[in-house]
Every structure is written in C-alpha cells, then in structure tokens.
C-alpha cells in the first residue's frame, strides 16, 4: 500500500510538470483520478502535490505579427453577423476581459444565461466555457464564439470576405505569413492574440503579499480546503464540480435569457429542455443517467478576480467576501453537491485573510497597447477600385 501511495505522489508530481499542453492536462486528470482511486488517501495528498505548482503563469511563446493581427480582429465588430459587436464587447480589457455583469449580454436580439469569463490566461485552459464543452483547442473556441447564434452569429465565409475587403487586413495577414485572409487563418490569429493575455504583476507572484494575504494563503491550502480544486498556476484543476451555487432567477424570468438557454439546450441534444429551470452545466457533455453531473461547472481560475466581479458561472455572488462567505457556510443546496463542500467555520478575520489572499492574485490591468487595439478601426468597407481588373 505504501508503495502504491508513494508512486502516486511521484507520478502526480511528474505529470503536473507537464501542464503546458492542454490536451495533456486532460490526460493527467484522467490518470490522476485513476491513481487516486487506486491509492486510498491520495486525495488528501493531492493539495500538497499541487501546491508546488502555485506560482506565476508562464507567458506563452507568441508570434508578434500573428498576435497583432489577432488583436485587431478581436476588437473588430465586423466579425459578428450584423457587424454590431466584437469579441471585446463582452470581453472588455478594463474589466479583466469580462464584462462586469452578472449575466452576459449576447448577440443583439438575445441575452446570455451565463457570466462572461475572463480571457486572461484562458489560452492555458484545458477546457472552455463554464461547462467545459469545448476542450480541444482555442481555434475551436474561437469558431464556436464567432458562429454561435447567440454570441456572434457569423457565417465564417462571409467573415472571410469582409476581412478580405479591408486593405489593412490584407497587409497584416501577409506580414503574419498567412497569405491572403481566410477564415482558417482568422481562427489561428485570434488564439495567437489570446496567448498574449497572461497575468503579470500580481503581489502573489512578486513576493509582495501582505502578512494578511500570507495567512489567507495558508488557510487556502489548509483549513479552507480551497486548493483541493483551485490548484496550479491559474488556481484551477480545470475540472467540473458542483458547489451548489444558487440559480440566477433572472435567467428564468427574463424571456430573452431563457430563450437563449432553450436554444442552447435544444441544440446540444438535452432532453426535456422546456422544463429546465436550472442550468445543467457540465451535464451537457457528461450526461450520466443518474443526473449526478447536473449543476457541475468548471472550476474558474482565481487570477484577476479584482477585475472580474461578479462571480460564479451565473454571476450570483457580487464580491469576494460573498464568495468566501458562501464557501464558509458550506456552499448552497443541491442533491449533487460535491461532498468536499462543507461548512468551514472560518472566523471573520480568517475570511478577511482569504479575501486578501485572493486579491493578491490580481495583477496589472492588460489595458495598454500591447493588449488593446488602439487605432480606430474603419468599419466602412472601401470599394476595390478597378474591380473588373482585379482578381477576387
């Protein structure tokens, strides 16, 4: 038994070193849980093994010209069907690349049913969206966000031709080594830009935590048990869990939001979608017959929380103090709640320490020209002169 236990620790450590590649993280998780099943008590050592991972998010290697192109595309409303919204309409740099709203706005004519997640460090996620339904790569995430009816509702063939109409893009695609603009290279350039959105300057990473925050970190790893799920450089295990966050009644009382949910659930092939009054979360891809995956949502990163209130998949918690209080009382009520969510018995001082620690994970706002396209984008299409003589 001891041999298996020790091997599990070593393997977990060794595998955790390889977190760079997202697909590999998914494999690590599968392997990890297998090992935990084998080695009774491995769950208890997991936080300690992962604690070694806490630290700065490593900047990704980025091709500057491709990223610059992706940046302009990110801020260009012509990438949505009716040319009214861009990626940055919901992922606002000054709000940590989220939108500051409990529930997202969505494409004109619709309203969203989930909180807009930050895109900072998102390039290093193992799975995307609050339900983790896209877990392949950022190219797929980009496609999904641009084409989905209630996000940007864009026909990518039309998007390609719009981009080709703009001489600035034609030059930028050429400079980036993509040749002429195509919908394929648009879906490569935007992820390249997203890779530039890496946290930096957080007191936690700079060794500048207050003593209060330091005590909060100890609680985080220990008594409060946060590190069971919030581990690694981004403070997330990239796994779905049910913490029984209360449902946001606005989703079900505002027809425009409920319509979007129904459209989504229907398209995803869920049963009985007209009778849902609770967001099924990760059950969208992990449909167990006993319903035990209903209400699971991906563990969010804890980086840049100061910029990204309100919190949780449905924006139900307004402040970090609310979040800590929520966990202190053992989360919400749900039959499928994760058994690890229990009352914590934290004193008010301990809760304040935890908040101070969480705040120490927020760094510099990514609002400078490195991360934001500052030039005005002329969205009026200029006609190609001598059109008859030019190749399309």
């Amino acid at each position: 038994m001891a041999g298996v236990f020790g091997t599990a620790v070593l393997l977990l450590r060794g595998l955790a070193m390889n977190r760079k590649v997202s697909s590999r993280i998914a494999r690590v998780s599968v392997l990890g849980s297998m090992l935990m099943t084998l080695a009774v008590g491995a769950v208890a050592i997991a936080p300690a093994a992962m604690a070694a991972d806490f630290g700065p998010v490593k900047p990704a290697k980025v091709n500057a010209k491709k990223a610059a192109l992706g940046k302009r595309l990110f801020f260009d409303p012509r990438l949505s069907g009716d040319a009214a919204i861009s990626c940055s309409t919901c992922h606002i740099p000054a709000k940590g690349f989220s939108d500051g709203l409990p529930l997202a706005k969505a494409y004109p004519g619709s309203e969203g049913f989930r909180n807009t997640p930050t895109l900072i460090n998102a390039a290093q996620k193992a799975a995307w969206f609050h339900d983790g339904r896209i877990g392949t790569n950022l190219n797929d995430v980009t496609r999904e966000s641009i084409t989905e009816t209630y996000t940007m509702n864009m026909d990518m063939r039309l998007m390609q031709e719009r981009v080709k109409q703009d001489p600035i893009y034609v030059q930028m695609f050429k400079d980036a080594g993509y040749g002429e603009p195509s919908n394929g290279s648009i879906r490569k350039a935007i992820p390249e830009y997203l890779k530039t959105l890496t946290s930096r300057g957080a007191p936690f990473d700079m060794g500048k935590m207050s003593s209060e925050a330091q005590r909060g970190f100890d609680l985080f790893k220990g008594k409060a048990g946060c590190a069971q799920c919030h581990s690694g450089p981004r403070f997330t295990d990239d796994q779905p869990h049910n913490t029984a966050v209360p449902e946001n009644p606005e989703i079900w009382s505002n027809p425009l939001r409920h319509v979007t949910y129904v459209s989504f659930a229907k398209f995803m092939g869920l049963e009985n979608y007209m009778n849902h009054r609770r967001d099924v979360g990760a059950n969208i891809r992990l449909q167990k017959s006993d319903g035990s995956n209903i209400g699971k949502f991906m563990t969010p990163s804890l980086r840049e929380l100061k910029q990204t209130a309100p919190y949780m998949h449905n924006g139900m918690l307004a402040t970090l103090a609310d979040v800590v209080a929520f966990y202190n009382r053992g989360g919400g009520n749900d039959t499928n709640k994760d058994p690890r969510i229990k009352q914590l018995g934290l004193s008010s001082e301990e809760r304040a320490n935890l908040v101070a620690f969480l705040e120490s994970l927020s760094g510099d706002a990514l609002t400078g020209p490195e991360h934001v396209w500052k030039d005005k984008i002329n969205v009026n299409y200029v006609a190609i002169q001598d059109w008859l003589q030019k190749k399309n």
């Binding site: 040319a83 026909d155 027809p255 979007t260």
Partner: protein, 380 residues
C-alpha cells in the same frame, strides 16, 4: 392539321436529338389566372393564414431580431425591394433583386434560379440565409416558444405543443397563397370582358404574341414558362463601386462552391450554373412572371431596368452581351433573342399592354405583433 404538322416536326427533331427545343415551340396560351394551387400537405385555413401573416411581419425570425420577411418583401415596395439589388441582413447587402411575393404561390420554381420548388421551401432559404435573414432553426423555435400567443396559435393550427419551425414555413406559405393579383385588366379581358383592354393594349397584346415574340417565354396564365435563359444582361453596377456589395458577391461564389479559378476571375452572376455546375447554364435565370410589374421596378435579377421603356429597348435590341455570351466563360445566350425592329409606336403599344398586367396595389400594414413572456413553471 396544325397539330399534325407539329407532331411530325417533333418526330424529326427527336431523331436529331433536338426534341425539347422543338416541343418548346408549342407555347401555352396566355390566360386569366386560375385559382391558386394549394399543396395537399398544407391546406389553407383562416387561422393558419393569420398566423402566417404575423410571422411574415415578425422580425424575431431573423438572426438579430431586426429583420422580417417584410423588410425585403415590403408591401409598399411591390412586396419586393425597390433598389436594383435588395437590402440584406444588417451589415450586409444582398446580391440579387428582391422578387415580389405577389402571385408567387403559382410558381414551381422560386428564387432567381429555381433553388426552391415551393413556398414552404423558399421561406427557410430566405429566413436562414447568411445575407438575408441569418436566422437559425433552434433559435426561431426557442423564441416562438416564449410568445404565448404563438404557442396557442401553433397549437390550434398544427397541434404543436411548442411551435415547430417547419410549421413556421407552412404558415408563411399559407399567408403568401392569399397574396394573389388576378383582378388586372388583362385577366378581365381574358375572362371575356373585351372592353377591359384599350385598343392600344390590344395592339400591344398582338405584338406580345407576334412580332415581339415575348410569348416565347412569357406564356400561359403566369406569363412565364419557368425555364432558364441567358439574355446577356449586364452585371449589377453596385459591384463596381460598393465595398459591401463586392463582399457579398465573393461570398456567394464561395458559398455556392465554384472552383477556385472561377472564384478568382468571375465578375458577374453566373445564375443557374451555381446549381447545376454546367457551363451551358452560365448566366441563365428563370423567366419571371409579369403581373404586378407596375409596382416592382427595377426589373431583372440584378435590377437593371428601372422602367418598361428600358426593358423593351433591351429586347428590341436583341438582348445584351456579357461574359456568358461572348465565350469568356460561356456562350449560352438564348437564340430566341433577336433584334425586333419595333417602331416607337409599337413599343408604346407593348408597354401599354404590360401595364394592363397590374391592377390595384395590394396594401397591407404591419400587424400588431404579440410580445414575449416568461414561461410558466416547469411541468415536471
């Protein structure tokens, strides 16, 4: 005797492999509009027609809930759109002329190259197309489910628990089957009221059937043979100087799956070719019906002609020429077009006859549309 001659000609023609050409010479006679055909699987009812009317005007069918059928098929614009090429979805303009909905119930081939064979098939093509409605089926159904009056009406008409998107198209089609224009001077004349046409219009009718030979394609009660011809029409002028129009033009080539070589070089609408991919079909478009044309200018698939004068001049000159007639892409111009040698008086007579194909304008205002409401509590 005449019949016998045609038959023997046909036999000879078939022997030389020219059967269809020769048989097409028997033109169905012009006639008053018959009762509207109704498909057996979508019978008319007052409730269905009323539902279809609401849906026709309801912008929530479109992707961003801002465009309805009635935006490109506007009652005040001849139930079409009065620009050469239609507006499209916001952020886009279309690439072809918007055709009138009036009398479309009689057509077996809808859109300019017959891409739909029924009104029920035409509606989703327009409502869901990227440069028209840009809607999406699941979203259409979800939105309708949150409009209690629609839930009730779909249940009454179709028995749906929740509105089904295919029944949206059926209801729209039922409404469109009521948009009939058969009280024209021409129809009255054909039904026996010989005073319904003026002497000039009767002279125009004779020209239509004779010297001008319009009847070769514009025949039967619809004044169309619903076949495809290349007349050598010019391209839409918008493509030369409008960036948004250039985008849609390329998008259509891309979306319709032409070869890359063609995508790079094409500068005009290749028409029926996009459906058949046959070079001989390049530049061909379906013969449009001629009723209600007093309200539907500009004419032709690219809205080339703003009035009947321009239209008649074009035919009098024997049609036009373009890259589909001069061998650049194809040489598919119909042999039926020849200079007609019409005098100014004859042209005036012909135009006067064309005017007899329109009666009073069909007017309709936007109905009051039912609002969204939250769903009742879950039933299980």
């Amino acid at each position: 005797m005449k019949k016998g001659k045609t038959l023997s000609l046909a036999v000879i023609a078939i022997a030389f492999g020219l059967g269809s050409t020769a048989l097409a010479d028997v033109n169905p006679p012009l006639a008053a509009l018959p009762p509207v055909p109704v498909p057996k699987d979508n019978p008319q009812s007052a409730a269905k027609i009323e539902l279809g009317k609401l849906l026709f005007f309801d912008s929530r069918i479109g992707g961003d809930a801002s465009v309805s059928c009635a935006d490109c098929h506007a009652p005040k614009q001849g139930w079409g759109f009065n620009d050469p090429i239609s507006r499209g979805y916001p952020g886009v303009i279309h690439w072809r002329n918007s055709q009138t909905v009036i009398n479309s119930a009689y057509l077996g081939k809808l859109f300019w190259v017959g891409a739909a064979k029924s009104l029920e098939a035409q509606a989703p093509g327009a409502a869901l197309g990227g440069v028209s409605g840009n809607g999406e089926r699941d979203m259409v159904e979800a939105r309708l489910a949150f409009i209690p009056e629609y839930v009730k009406r779909f249940n009454d008409v179709f028995g749906d628990d929740w509105p089904k998107v295919n029944n949206v198209w059926k209801a729209m089609a039922a409404f469109e089957r009521t948009l009939i224009h058969d009280n024209t001077p021409f129809d009255k004349y054909m039904r026996g009221d010989k005073k319904a046409l003026s002497a000039q219009q009767v002279r125009g009718l004779k020209l239509f059937e004779g010297k001008a030979n319009c009847i070769e394609c514009h025949n039967g009660p619809l004044l169309t043979d619903q076949k495809y011809y290349n007349l050598g029409l010019p391209r839409a002028e918008e493509w030369l100087d409008n960036g948004m129009a250039q985008i849609t033009f390329r998008y259509e080539q891309y979306a319709k799956g032409v070869t890359e070589k063609m995508y790079r070089t094409i500068k005009n609408d290749a028409g029926l070719y996009y459906r058949t991919k046959e070079k001989s079909d390049m530049g061909k478009f379906r013969t449009p019906p001629l009723r209600y044309t007093a309200y539907t200018a500009p004419f032709m698939h690219a809205g080339t002609f703003f009035d009947f004068d321009e239209l008649v001049d074009f035919y009098n000159d024997g049609g036009g020429s373009n890259e589909f007639t001069d061998g650049t892409f194809a040489s598919s111009k119909t042999k039926l077009l020849k200079p007609l040698g019409l005098t100014d008086g004859e042209k005036a007579d012909l135009i006067s006859f064309l005017e007899s194909l329109s009666g009073p304008e069909i007017k309709m205002s936007t109905p009051k549309l039912p609002p969204y409401a939250p769903l009742p509590p879950a039933t299980n």
